[in-house]
Amino acid sequence: MKLLEHRAKRLLDSYGVPIPEGYVVKTPEEVRDISYSSVLKAQVPVGGRRKAGGVIFVSTLQEARTAAAEILKLRVSGYSPKEILVERKLDIVREIYLSITIDRSGRIPLLMASSEGGIEIETVPDDKIWKWHIHPFVGVQTYQIREIRSFLRMEDPGGRELSDILKNLWKFFWENDCELAEINPLVLTKDGRLMAGDAKITINDDSLYRHKDLVDLEEELTPLERKAKESGIAFVQLDGNIGVIANGAGLTMATLDNLDLYGGRGGVFLDLGGTDDPKKAERAFELMIEASPKVILLNIFGGMTKCDNVAAGVLAVKEKLGISVPVVARIRGMNEQRGREMLSGAGMIAVKDLDEACRRASEIGGS
């Protein structure tokens, strides 16, 4: 779960990472005091807001309110800002990049620092990024902090503050189950202070049950996306016309790959996860009918469930809601033959082979 900038900053602040003065507004009228040069920033959980016009510098209250109104009308990568962060403009001397993320290969967190702050880190060459693994059993070490300070040529002023920020950022990262905690830029101001100019924080979704206090960000979802999410089904909208239901991310992706072999294009697809629970398959079928694809391709490789039970579930949905589009069903597992017979008996195309199923669905989709 990505946190909006202002929430990320508030959390960092509570861990002793300094942030600029500021407040959040939801309407232009809420913009109050502009006693100093300020910046208004659209609060969206995606990048690219500056390019979209979501960051505006202002000097007067009038300017600020006009800017706020403009920002609230924007759409940034599909998100409409509902909140604006009004912040004191910083007197910038230097901009530093700082982040902690989880390194899959190393299997532990990785700290990155660079003198090239304020720009996208992907554009910074590798030799200008300092990287160090942080082992969670020992945390950020003094020698690492010494190295970072030296690498960033960050002696006082700011050096001691940097040490504290590194320790605090790590503590924050680990205690809050972060996948990413990025401060970019970390600003050194004219008066020698260090402040988080912007912050991107992603909390590991699987940990949210123990961070109830953090879960209040309303995701912008379509009604279908919301229903899928509530059922624990992964939903992805693609641009094709074949509705794919499969169990497991890998199998779902393999199905898309296989459709491509025959010119078929996935449209909506629903991934039940590793399960072959007939109830979940039923629910996915209901959702898929709402999405009205041209053809539905069901691909279930069963482990725990008998295929005739899955088939019975599909037939129940057909009974209840009716299915107006062709269905290609490919079910493997226990009692698979009986399952296929039940489905073909109800007018569906029931096959054994994934490849064949994809060919048949592509033919229908492409026709």
Partner: protein, 288 residues
Amino acid sequence: MSAILTKNTKVLVQGITGHQGSFNAGQMMEFGTKVVGGVTPGKSGETVLGLPVFDTMAEAVKITKANTSIVFVPAPFAKDAVLEAVDAGIKTVAVITERIPVRDSIEFIQYAKLRGTRIVGPNCPGLASPGKAKVGIMPNSIFSKGKIGVVSRSGTLTYEIVNALTESGLGQSTVIGIGGDPVIGTSFVDALRLFERDRETESIVLIGEIGGTAEEEAAEFIRKRMSKPVFAYVAGRMAPPGKRMGHAGAIIARGRGTAQSKISSLEAAGVKVASVPAEVPKIVLKGA
């Protein structure tokens, strides 16, 4: 593969009294696995499928001499279960549970490393060596005994491909589902290293997917260290960039971790890569 599962593998099922635990305990036994008991706190004295249930792993290990465990306990309690297994002296723990917080996984994987325990998973279908043992949830019907080692990040896609191998007469020495989470105990490289050493394995099928750089690292390892032939399939050529495809492992970001990057790396390391699952047995038969 003697490096992980052997005829002496003795398995405890952590969370045996749950639906998944008891069902799979039965399936593992049908596969021929020596399942010697289960653990569910507070259920000591009960039996499941005739197997004794213990309160603690320490007691269960003491009595059954188990060396392996499989974890089905819900995500919030999985870390505790794995640490308990490690402290009880278990040598291999397959963690089936999905949606475990990544911090918990990091902790139990590092702790297991410190104590010399192998972790497979989390969020994985486990592992199986036909004729020896299965410690996982993969359907028994897909396997046949043979010389191919299979390692996969995916769950059901593994079933698909192992099944396809079996239907083409290509039996398996060991199948390892390493799991799709960002942080896992046994990586592609770890599994490849085991297969390279394993006398019962003659060639390897690697099943990857988009996201992360595990396949690229595997390619590097194959190029430098593997003498046995490796075949691969990488799922996700047609997946849309930047979208989550069901679990955290499948994110494409910044041009790295794409199917194309993985396929090119593997091919550059001399690996034949299939374009759809059904092609996997074909390239193996051709390559053999």
